[in-house]
Symmetry: C2
Subunit: 100 residues, 2 copies
């Protein structure tokens, strides 16, 4: 099992639609990569504010793979590359966490 999580910060000057497009593209492009077992994507939740919570990002994405090999296939897959090409121009910052 490999849990691949990405937090995206969208540029201040990006169109208002950029956040929704990013979430939609996670589901439309990334979720269709064959090695993706599960995929979750969305904006910060309305959980009670606490000092330990970072809710400064625009969209969170968590992808579950069976293993490291599945993750590696995903990184190079045409659907992933197309997702990046479509959305990256709007990204100010991206932070990735992988655990297994």
């Amino acid at each position: 099992m490999l849990v691949h999580t990405v937090y995206f910060w969208i540029k201040a000057g990006a169109p208002a639609s950029a956040q929704n497009q990013l979430v939609a593209d996670c589901k439309q492009y990334l979720a269709k990569v064959p090695t993706v077992q599960q995929l979750f994507a969305g904006p910060p939740a309305r959980t009670v504010k606490r000092e330990v919570i970072d809710n400064s990002y625009s969209v969170g994405l968590t992808v579950i793979f069976d293993d490291l090999a599945g993750h590696d296939v995903y990184q190079e897959h045409p659907l992933h590359l197309e997702f990046v090409a479509r959305n990256k121009p709007q990204w100010a910052k991206v932070q990735v966490y992988d655990f297994e």
Copy 2:
């Protein structure tokens, strides 16, 4: 759907067993809270190093809830409080991300 993710940094002086105990306790305590739909926990993965990847933490935890109400029940549940009491003395830093 609510995705609750926590990254734990264990204190430098903690016993070597602290990391394994933390992962085991996620599964033994937190996964048994009734509102938890799925739970993933483990150390940083051996994915290829990239500048955007933060692998400085000790353990990652991702918990899937049906909704915000399920998350709120979990925060106050005795099993969660016991998990915190058992492990918190070894934590140098905790970072939380919730998205939905």
